[in-house]
Symmetry: C2
Subunit: 247 residues, 2 copies
Protein backbone atom coordinates (compact mmCIF):
# COMPACT_ATOMS: atom_id res chain seq x y z
CA UNK A 1 0.00 0.00 0.00
CA UNK A 2 1.44 3.34 -1.05
CA UNK A 3 0.23 6.73 0.17
CA UNK A 4 -1.09 9.40 -2.16
CA UNK A 5 1.66 11.74 -0.98
CA UNK A 6 4.35 9.23 -2.01
CA UNK A 7 2.73 8.71 -5.42
CA UNK A 8 2.66 12.46 -5.92
CA UNK A 9 6.28 12.82 -4.82
CA UNK A 10 7.58 10.08 -7.12
CA UNK A 11 5.65 11.39 -10.09
CA UNK A 12 6.94 14.91 -9.47
CA UNK A 13 10.46 13.59 -10.12
CA UNK A 14 9.61 13.46 -13.82
CA UNK A 15 10.34 17.21 -13.79
CA UNK A 16 13.94 18.33 -13.94
CA UNK A 17 13.26 21.28 -11.62
CA UNK A 18 12.00 18.96 -8.88
CA UNK A 19 14.86 16.50 -9.43
CA UNK A 20 17.40 19.29 -9.01
CA UNK A 21 15.61 20.63 -5.92
CA UNK A 22 15.26 17.23 -4.24
CA UNK A 23 18.48 15.79 -5.72
CA UNK A 24 16.73 12.52 -6.43
CA UNK A 25 15.83 10.49 -9.52
CA UNK A 26 13.71 7.46 -10.40
CA UNK A 27 14.89 4.20 -11.97
CA UNK A 28 12.66 1.27 -12.97
CA UNK A 29 12.86 -2.44 -13.65
CA UNK A 30 14.94 -5.20 -11.99
CA UNK A 31 17.92 -4.71 -14.32
CA UNK A 32 18.31 -0.95 -13.98
CA UNK A 33 17.44 -0.81 -10.26
CA UNK A 34 19.62 -3.86 -9.55
CA UNK A 35 22.68 -2.35 -11.25
CA UNK A 36 22.24 0.96 -9.42
CA UNK A 37 21.81 -0.76 -6.04
CA UNK A 38 25.26 -2.27 -6.47
CA UNK A 39 26.85 1.17 -6.35
CA UNK A 40 24.47 3.44 -4.46
CA UNK A 41 21.85 3.42 -1.72
CA UNK A 42 18.22 3.79 -2.73
CA UNK A 43 16.02 6.07 -0.63
CA UNK A 44 12.84 4.25 -1.50
CA UNK A 45 11.88 1.06 -3.31
CA UNK A 46 8.37 0.38 -4.58
CA UNK A 47 7.81 -3.20 -5.73
CA UNK A 48 5.30 -5.93 -6.45
CA UNK A 49 5.70 -9.39 -4.91
CA UNK A 50 7.68 -10.61 -7.94
CA UNK A 51 11.25 -9.29 -7.84
CA UNK A 52 13.83 -10.32 -5.27
CA UNK A 53 16.07 -7.47 -4.33
CA UNK A 54 19.66 -7.51 -3.22
CA UNK A 55 21.68 -4.65 -1.74
CA UNK A 56 18.53 -2.80 -0.62
CA UNK A 57 20.44 -1.53 2.43
CA UNK A 58 18.28 0.66 4.63
CA UNK A 59 15.98 1.81 1.83
CA UNK A 60 12.30 2.13 2.69
CA UNK A 61 10.52 -0.70 0.85
CA UNK A 62 6.87 -0.37 -0.09
CA UNK A 63 5.05 -3.47 -1.35
CA UNK A 64 2.38 -2.71 -3.90
CA UNK A 65 0.02 -4.42 -6.32
CA UNK A 66 0.62 -4.16 -10.07
CA UNK A 67 -2.22 -1.68 -10.24
CA UNK A 68 -0.66 0.55 -7.61
CA UNK A 69 2.69 0.38 -9.36
CA UNK A 70 1.01 1.55 -12.54
CA UNK A 71 0.05 4.76 -10.71
CA UNK A 72 3.65 5.68 -9.90
CA UNK A 73 5.50 4.26 -12.89
CA UNK A 74 6.67 6.39 -15.83
CA UNK A 75 6.65 3.32 -18.09
CA UNK A 76 3.84 2.17 -20.33
CA UNK A 77 4.52 -1.35 -19.08
CA UNK A 78 5.78 -1.10 -15.49
CA UNK A 79 8.48 -3.62 -14.63
CA UNK A 80 7.65 -4.75 -11.08
CA UNK A 81 10.07 -2.43 -9.34
CA UNK A 82 10.80 1.26 -9.13
CA UNK A 83 13.33 2.99 -6.91
CA UNK A 84 14.27 6.52 -5.92
CA UNK A 85 18.01 7.22 -5.78
CA UNK A 86 20.01 10.26 -4.72
CA UNK A 87 21.73 12.43 -7.31
CA UNK A 88 25.20 12.57 -5.82
CA UNK A 89 27.17 15.80 -5.62
CA UNK A 90 30.32 13.77 -6.04
CA UNK A 91 30.40 11.19 -8.84
CA UNK A 92 30.10 7.56 -7.77
CA UNK A 93 32.76 6.52 -10.27
CA UNK A 94 36.16 8.19 -10.31
CA UNK A 95 37.50 8.77 -13.82
CA UNK A 96 40.83 7.19 -14.57
CA UNK A 97 43.13 10.00 -15.76
CA UNK A 98 44.70 10.11 -18.31
CA UNK A 99 42.01 8.23 -20.13
CA UNK A 100 39.61 8.31 -23.03
CA UNK A 101 36.43 10.25 -22.34
CA UNK A 102 33.40 11.61 -24.15
CA UNK A 103 32.07 15.16 -24.35
CA UNK A 104 28.49 15.76 -25.47
CA UNK A 105 27.79 19.18 -26.90
CA UNK A 106 24.02 19.69 -26.82
CA UNK A 107 22.68 16.15 -27.30
CA UNK A 108 18.93 16.67 -26.90
CA UNK A 109 17.15 13.35 -27.24
CA UNK A 110 16.85 11.37 -23.99
CA UNK A 111 17.01 8.06 -25.89
CA UNK A 112 20.24 9.11 -27.59
CA UNK A 113 21.80 10.22 -24.29
CA UNK A 114 20.83 6.97 -22.55
CA UNK A 115 22.16 4.90 -25.43
CA UNK A 116 25.44 6.87 -25.40
CA UNK A 117 25.87 6.19 -21.66
CA UNK A 118 25.35 2.47 -22.40
CA UNK A 119 27.93 2.61 -25.23
CA UNK A 120 30.46 4.35 -22.95
CA UNK A 121 29.97 1.60 -20.37
CA UNK A 122 30.48 -1.14 -23.00
CA UNK A 123 33.69 0.43 -24.23
CA UNK A 124 35.11 1.17 -20.80
CA UNK A 125 34.74 4.95 -20.98
CA UNK A 126 34.18 6.04 -17.38
CA UNK A 127 33.46 9.70 -17.80
CA UNK A 128 31.11 11.75 -19.97
CA UNK A 129 31.30 15.54 -19.89
CA UNK A 130 28.01 17.15 -20.96
CA UNK A 131 27.44 20.76 -21.98
CA UNK A 132 24.84 22.49 -19.82
CA UNK A 133 22.27 22.31 -22.66
CA UNK A 134 22.61 18.52 -23.05
CA UNK A 135 19.57 16.49 -21.93
CA UNK A 136 19.45 15.61 -18.22
CA UNK A 137 20.92 12.17 -17.47
CA UNK A 138 18.42 11.74 -14.61
CA UNK A 139 15.39 12.18 -16.86
CA UNK A 140 13.44 8.88 -16.45
CA UNK A 141 13.68 8.19 -20.21
CA UNK A 142 17.46 8.53 -20.12
CA UNK A 143 17.77 6.38 -17.00
CA UNK A 144 15.77 3.60 -18.69
CA UNK A 145 17.72 3.80 -21.96
CA UNK A 146 21.02 3.37 -20.09
CA UNK A 147 19.88 -0.13 -19.04
CA UNK A 148 21.80 0.20 -15.78
CA UNK A 149 24.97 1.73 -17.24
CA UNK A 150 24.36 4.93 -15.28
CA UNK A 151 25.70 2.93 -12.32
CA UNK A 152 29.10 2.58 -13.96
CA UNK A 153 29.58 5.80 -15.92
CA UNK A 154 30.06 9.33 -14.56
CA UNK A 155 28.04 12.05 -16.17
CA UNK A 156 29.25 15.57 -15.40
CA UNK A 157 27.60 18.80 -16.57
CA UNK A 158 30.10 21.51 -17.25
CA UNK A 159 31.14 24.36 -19.53
CA UNK A 160 32.91 22.35 -22.25
CA UNK A 161 34.90 25.30 -23.58
CA UNK A 162 36.24 26.17 -20.12
CA UNK A 163 37.05 22.49 -19.54
CA UNK A 164 39.02 22.26 -22.78
CA UNK A 165 40.98 25.36 -21.87
CA UNK A 166 42.36 23.55 -18.83
CA UNK A 167 43.91 20.88 -21.09
CA UNK A 168 47.49 21.11 -22.42
CA UNK A 169 47.48 22.61 -25.93
CA UNK A 170 48.40 19.29 -27.53
CA UNK A 171 45.82 17.20 -25.66
CA UNK A 172 43.93 15.27 -28.35
CA UNK A 173 40.34 16.45 -28.86
CA UNK A 174 38.51 14.39 -31.49
CA UNK A 175 35.27 15.23 -33.25
CA UNK A 176 33.43 13.72 -36.20
CA UNK A 177 32.97 16.47 -38.77
CA UNK A 178 32.09 16.60 -42.48
CA UNK A 179 35.58 17.94 -43.28
CA UNK A 180 37.26 15.30 -41.11
CA UNK A 181 39.70 12.62 -42.17
CA UNK A 182 38.79 8.95 -42.67
CA UNK A 183 38.61 7.49 -39.15
CA UNK A 184 39.78 4.08 -40.41
CA UNK A 185 43.09 5.56 -41.53
CA UNK A 186 43.80 8.22 -38.90
CA UNK A 187 46.04 7.49 -35.94
CA UNK A 188 44.01 7.39 -32.73
CA UNK A 189 45.59 7.93 -29.34
CA UNK A 190 44.88 5.91 -26.22
CA UNK A 191 43.75 8.96 -24.30
CA UNK A 192 41.82 12.02 -25.38
CA UNK A 193 38.37 13.53 -25.53
CA UNK A 194 35.81 12.52 -28.16
CA UNK A 195 33.27 15.30 -28.79
CA UNK A 196 29.81 14.49 -30.17
CA UNK A 197 27.36 17.23 -31.17
CA UNK A 198 23.70 18.12 -31.27
CA UNK A 199 21.30 15.99 -33.37
CA UNK A 200 20.48 18.76 -35.85
CA UNK A 201 23.43 21.12 -35.74
CA UNK A 202 26.39 18.97 -34.80
CA UNK A 203 29.21 20.41 -32.70
CA UNK A 204 28.78 24.13 -31.91
CA UNK A 205 31.24 26.52 -33.60
CA UNK A 206 33.14 27.48 -30.42
CA UNK A 207 33.71 23.85 -29.49
CA UNK A 208 34.53 22.88 -33.08
CA UNK A 209 37.43 25.36 -32.88
CA UNK A 210 38.90 23.31 -30.06
CA UNK A 211 38.78 20.02 -32.00
CA UNK A 212 42.36 19.30 -33.11
CA UNK A 213 41.69 15.86 -34.64
CA UNK A 214 38.80 15.96 -37.11
CA UNK A 215 37.43 12.56 -38.03
CA UNK A 216 34.98 11.34 -40.65
CA UNK A 217 33.06 8.06 -40.68
CA UNK A 218 33.00 7.27 -44.42
CA UNK A 219 29.81 6.04 -46.00
CA UNK A 220 29.90 3.15 -48.45
CA UNK A 221 30.56 3.19 -51.31
CA UNK A 222 32.07 6.66 -50.98
CA UNK A 223 30.29 9.32 -53.02
CA UNK A 224 27.01 7.36 -53.23
CA UNK A 225 23.75 9.26 -52.71
CA UNK A 226 22.98 8.11 -49.21
CA UNK A 227 21.85 9.20 -45.75
CA UNK A 228 23.19 12.70 -45.00
CA UNK A 229 24.40 11.72 -41.58
CA UNK A 230 24.34 9.07 -38.89
CA UNK A 231 22.32 9.37 -35.70
CA UNK A 232 24.55 10.78 -32.94
CA UNK A 233 24.42 7.60 -30.81
CA UNK A 234 25.39 5.53 -33.86
CA UNK A 235 28.30 7.84 -34.68
CA UNK A 236 29.42 7.65 -31.03
CA UNK A 237 29.34 3.84 -31.14
CA UNK A 238 31.33 3.59 -34.35
CA UNK A 239 33.91 6.11 -33.10
CA UNK A 240 34.37 4.45 -29.69
CA UNK A 241 34.53 1.05 -31.40
CA UNK A 242 37.33 2.29 -33.64
CA UNK A 243 39.36 3.60 -30.68
CA UNK A 244 38.98 0.39 -28.70
CA UNK A 245 39.51 -1.97 -31.64
CA UNK A 246 43.03 -0.68 -32.06
CA UNK A 247 44.08 -1.08 -28.42
CA UNK B 1 -8.10 24.28 -45.83
CA UNK B 2 -8.36 20.55 -45.21
CA UNK B 3 -11.59 18.58 -44.88
CA UNK B 4 -12.54 16.63 -41.77
CA UNK B 5 -12.69 13.46 -43.87
CA UNK B 6 -9.07 13.94 -45.04
CA UNK B 7 -7.89 14.59 -41.47
CA UNK B 8 -9.63 11.43 -40.35
CA UNK B 9 -8.16 9.41 -43.21
CA UNK B 10 -4.59 10.58 -42.61
CA UNK B 11 -4.82 9.95 -38.89
CA UNK B 12 -6.22 6.47 -39.49
CA UNK B 13 -2.91 5.59 -41.19
CA UNK B 14 -1.30 5.46 -37.77
CA UNK B 15 -2.82 1.97 -37.52
CA UNK B 16 -1.05 -0.88 -39.25
CA UNK B 17 -4.36 -2.54 -40.20
CA UNK B 18 -5.48 0.55 -42.10
CA UNK B 19 -2.05 0.99 -43.71
CA UNK B 20 -2.16 -2.59 -45.00
CA UNK B 21 -5.74 -2.19 -46.22
CA UNK B 22 -5.13 1.12 -47.99
CA UNK B 23 -1.49 0.35 -48.87
CA UNK B 24 -0.46 3.86 -47.91
CA UNK B 25 1.78 5.45 -45.30
CA UNK B 26 2.55 8.91 -43.92
CA UNK B 27 5.89 10.71 -43.92
CA UNK B 28 6.60 14.13 -42.40
CA UNK B 29 9.07 16.97 -42.62
CA UNK B 30 10.89 18.49 -45.63
CA UNK B 31 13.85 16.08 -45.37
CA UNK B 32 11.91 12.81 -45.18
CA UNK B 33 9.19 13.84 -47.65
CA UNK B 34 11.78 15.37 -50.01
CA UNK B 35 13.87 12.18 -50.11
CA UNK B 36 10.82 10.00 -50.73
CA UNK B 37 9.54 12.29 -53.51
CA UNK B 38 12.78 11.65 -55.40
CA UNK B 39 11.88 7.97 -55.79
CA UNK B 40 8.09 7.69 -55.53
CA UNK B 41 4.92 9.61 -56.23
CA UNK B 42 2.98 11.02 -53.29
CA UNK B 43 -0.80 10.68 -53.33
CA UNK B 44 -1.36 13.70 -51.16
CA UNK B 45 0.75 16.51 -49.74
CA UNK B 46 -0.40 18.69 -46.85
CA UNK B 47 1.78 21.75 -46.26
CA UNK B 48 2.04 25.20 -44.75
CA UNK B 49 3.26 28.15 -46.83
CA UNK B 50 6.86 27.56 -45.74
CA UNK B 51 8.36 24.59 -47.60
CA UNK B 52 9.10 24.59 -51.33
CA UNK B 53 8.48 21.19 -52.83
CA UNK B 54 10.14 19.54 -55.77
CA UNK B 55 9.07 16.38 -57.59
CA UNK B 56 5.48 16.72 -56.37
CA UNK B 57 4.29 15.23 -59.68
CA UNK B 58 0.52 14.97 -59.84
CA UNK B 59 0.04 14.69 -56.06
CA UNK B 60 -2.95 16.52 -54.61
CA UNK B 61 -1.54 19.47 -52.62
CA UNK B 62 -3.49 20.95 -49.72
CA UNK B 63 -2.31 24.24 -48.25
CA UNK B 64 -2.95 24.54 -44.54
CA UNK B 65 -2.17 26.74 -41.56
CA UNK B 66 0.20 25.53 -38.86
CA UNK B 67 -2.81 24.94 -36.64
CA UNK B 68 -4.50 22.74 -39.24
CA UNK B 69 -1.28 20.79 -39.77
CA UNK B 70 -1.16 20.10 -36.04
CA UNK B 71 -4.51 18.30 -36.41
CA UNK B 72 -3.18 15.79 -38.93
CA UNK B 73 0.45 15.43 -37.84
CA UNK B 74 1.72 12.51 -35.75
CA UNK B 75 4.60 14.64 -34.49
CA UNK B 76 4.70 16.64 -31.30
CA UNK B 77 6.29 19.46 -33.31
CA UNK B 78 4.91 19.25 -36.88
CA UNK B 79 7.48 20.08 -39.54
CA UNK B 80 5.53 22.13 -42.13
CA UNK B 81 4.85 19.24 -44.50
CA UNK B 82 3.24 15.82 -44.41
CA UNK B 83 2.68 13.48 -47.34
CA UNK B 84 0.85 10.24 -48.01
CA UNK B 85 2.79 7.72 -50.10
CA UNK B 86 1.83 4.34 -51.55
CA UNK B 87 3.23 1.15 -50.05
CA UNK B 88 4.54 -0.51 -53.20
CA UNK B 89 3.98 -4.20 -53.92
CA UNK B 90 7.29 -4.24 -55.73
CA UNK B 91 10.27 -2.65 -54.00
CA UNK B 92 11.43 0.69 -55.38
CA UNK B 93 15.08 -0.35 -55.04
CA UNK B 94 16.34 -3.56 -56.62
CA UNK B 95 18.88 -5.37 -54.45
CA UNK B 96 22.26 -5.98 -56.00
CA UNK B 97 22.88 -9.75 -55.82
CA UNK B 98 25.27 -11.13 -54.65
CA UNK B 99 25.55 -8.47 -52.02
CA UNK B 100 25.64 -7.79 -48.32
CA UNK B 101 22.20 -7.61 -46.71
CA UNK B 102 20.61 -7.47 -43.29
CA UNK B 103 17.99 -9.74 -41.73
CA UNK B 104 16.04 -8.54 -38.68
CA UNK B 105 14.60 -11.27 -36.52
CA UNK B 106 11.91 -9.70 -34.35
CA UNK B 107 13.20 -6.14 -33.86
CA UNK B 108 10.33 -4.51 -31.97
CA UNK B 109 11.14 -0.89 -31.28
CA UNK B 110 10.16 1.51 -34.09
CA UNK B 111 13.08 3.83 -33.26
CA UNK B 112 15.53 0.94 -33.53
CA UNK B 113 14.08 -0.20 -36.87
CA UNK B 114 14.17 3.32 -38.30
CA UNK B 115 17.75 3.80 -37.12
CA UNK B 116 18.77 0.46 -38.64
CA UNK B 117 17.29 1.48 -42.02
CA UNK B 118 19.34 4.70 -41.81
CA UNK B 119 22.50 2.70 -40.97
CA UNK B 120 21.89 0.35 -43.92
CA UNK B 121 21.58 3.36 -46.21
CA UNK B 122 24.83 4.87 -44.90
CA UNK B 123 26.74 1.64 -45.44
CA UNK B 124 25.29 0.91 -48.88
CA UNK B 125 23.17 -2.06 -47.81
CA UNK B 126 20.19 -2.00 -50.18
CA UNK B 127 18.06 -4.73 -48.77
CA UNK B 128 16.71 -5.59 -45.32
CA UNK B 129 14.79 -8.81 -44.79
CA UNK B 130 12.46 -8.62 -41.79
CA UNK B 131 10.76 -11.49 -39.99
CA UNK B 132 6.99 -11.17 -39.93
CA UNK B 133 7.07 -10.18 -36.23
CA UNK B 134 9.49 -7.29 -36.80
CA UNK B 135 8.02 -3.79 -36.36
CA UNK B 136 6.32 -2.32 -39.43
CA UNK B 137 8.63 -0.10 -41.50
CA UNK B 138 5.65 2.10 -42.46
CA UNK B 139 4.78 2.92 -38.84
CA UNK B 140 5.05 6.75 -38.66
CA UNK B 141 7.68 6.51 -35.89
CA UNK B 142 9.84 4.26 -38.06
CA UNK B 143 9.41 6.45 -41.14
CA UNK B 144 10.57 9.50 -39.14
CA UNK B 145 13.55 7.69 -37.59
CA UNK B 146 14.80 6.67 -41.06
CA UNK B 147 15.34 10.37 -41.88
CA UNK B 148 14.54 9.68 -45.53
CA UNK B 149 16.57 6.47 -45.87
CA UNK B 150 13.38 4.49 -46.53
CA UNK B 151 13.60 5.99 -50.02
CA UNK B 152 16.87 4.18 -50.70
CA UNK B 153 16.59 0.90 -48.80
CA UNK B 154 14.26 -2.03 -49.54
CA UNK B 155 12.45 -3.52 -46.58
CA UNK B 156 10.95 -6.93 -47.25
CA UNK B 157 8.84 -8.95 -44.78
CA UNK B 158 9.38 -12.65 -45.16
CA UNK B 159 9.82 -15.97 -43.39
CA UNK B 160 13.54 -15.75 -42.59
CA UNK B 161 13.99 -19.49 -42.11
CA UNK B 162 12.43 -20.29 -45.49
CA UNK B 163 14.54 -17.55 -47.08
CA UNK B 164 17.74 -18.99 -45.63
CA UNK B 165 16.83 -22.45 -46.90
CA UNK B 166 16.93 -21.10 -50.47
CA UNK B 167 20.61 -20.13 -50.00
CA UNK B 168 23.50 -22.44 -50.92
CA UNK B 169 24.69 -24.33 -47.80
CA UNK B 170 27.94 -22.37 -47.65
CA UNK B 171 26.35 -18.94 -48.08
CA UNK B 172 27.70 -16.82 -45.22
CA UNK B 173 25.11 -16.01 -42.56
CA UNK B 174 26.52 -13.82 -39.78
CA UNK B 175 25.03 -13.12 -36.38
CA UNK B 176 26.33 -11.43 -33.23
CA UNK B 177 26.04 -13.95 -30.40
CA UNK B 178 27.50 -14.28 -26.91
CA UNK B 179 29.45 -17.37 -28.01
CA UNK B 180 30.67 -15.68 -31.18
CA UNK B 181 34.26 -14.94 -32.18
CA UNK B 182 35.88 -11.50 -31.92
CA UNK B 183 34.56 -9.55 -34.93
CA UNK B 184 37.81 -7.58 -35.21
CA UNK B 185 39.76 -10.75 -35.91
CA UNK B 186 37.30 -12.87 -37.94
CA UNK B 187 37.44 -12.89 -41.74
CA UNK B 188 34.38 -11.14 -43.17
CA UNK B 189 33.18 -11.81 -46.70
CA UNK B 190 32.05 -9.19 -49.18
CA UNK B 191 28.64 -10.75 -49.52
CA UNK B 192 26.41 -12.46 -47.00
CA UNK B 193 23.52 -11.93 -44.65
CA UNK B 194 23.92 -10.23 -41.26
CA UNK B 195 21.20 -11.30 -38.81
CA UNK B 196 20.21 -9.07 -35.89
CA UNK B 197 17.78 -10.22 -33.21
CA UNK B 198 15.06 -9.04 -30.89
CA UNK B 199 15.84 -6.39 -28.23
CA UNK B 200 15.26 -8.70 -25.28
CA UNK B 201 15.82 -12.21 -26.59
CA UNK B 202 18.31 -11.82 -29.42
CA UNK B 203 18.15 -14.12 -32.44
CA UNK B 204 15.45 -16.82 -32.15
CA UNK B 205 16.70 -20.42 -31.76
CA UNK B 206 15.60 -21.62 -35.21
CA UNK B 207 17.36 -18.74 -36.95
CA UNK B 208 20.41 -19.05 -34.68
CA UNK B 209 20.81 -22.59 -36.06
CA UNK B 210 21.25 -21.15 -39.53
CA UNK B 211 24.00 -18.72 -38.51
CA UNK B 212 27.27 -20.21 -39.77
CA UNK B 213 29.55 -17.29 -38.78
CA UNK B 214 29.06 -16.31 -35.14
CA UNK B 215 30.50 -12.94 -34.24
CA UNK B 216 31.07 -11.10 -30.96
CA UNK B 217 31.62 -7.38 -30.45
CA UNK B 218 34.11 -7.37 -27.55
CA UNK B 219 33.66 -4.95 -24.71
CA UNK B 220 36.63 -3.03 -23.32
CA UNK B 221 38.64 -3.96 -21.42
CA UNK B 222 37.55 -7.57 -21.87
CA UNK B 223 36.20 -9.17 -18.74
CA UNK B 224 35.28 -5.86 -17.07
CA UNK B 225 31.92 -5.62 -15.30
CA UNK B 226 30.06 -3.62 -17.89
CA UNK B 227 26.80 -3.29 -19.83
CA UNK B 228 25.38 -6.77 -20.55
CA UNK B 229 24.72 -5.98 -24.17
CA UNK B 230 24.56 -3.27 -26.77
CA UNK B 231 21.32 -1.85 -28.13
CA UNK B 232 20.42 -3.70 -31.37
CA UNK B 233 20.80 -0.62 -33.59
CA UNK B 234 24.23 0.05 -32.05
CA UNK B 235 25.32 -3.57 -32.63
CA UNK B 236 24.06 -3.33 -36.23
CA UNK B 237 26.08 -0.16 -36.79
CA UNK B 238 29.30 -1.59 -35.39
CA UNK B 239 28.89 -4.81 -37.39
CA UNK B 240 28.12 -3.05 -40.70
CA UNK B 241 30.99 -0.63 -40.03
CA UNK B 242 33.38 -3.55 -39.58
CA UNK B 243 32.29 -5.17 -42.88
CA UNK B 244 32.63 -1.93 -44.83
CA UNK B 245 35.88 -0.79 -43.19
CA UNK B 246 37.67 -3.81 -44.63
CA UNK B 247 36.50 -3.33 -48.20
Amino acid sequence: MISKAKIKFIRSLEQKKIRMQERMFVAEGPKVVGDLLKVMHAKLIVKTAKPKIENAGDAEIIDVTEEELRKVSFLQHPQDILAVFPILEEPNVKPAIPSLSLALDGVQDPGNLGTIIRIADWFGIDHIYCSIDTADAYNPKVVQATMGSLARVNVEYTDLKALMETFPADYPIYGTLLDGKNIYKEPLTKEGLIVMGNEGNGISPEIRNKVNHKLLIPNYPEGRDTADSLNVAIATAITCNEFRRRQ
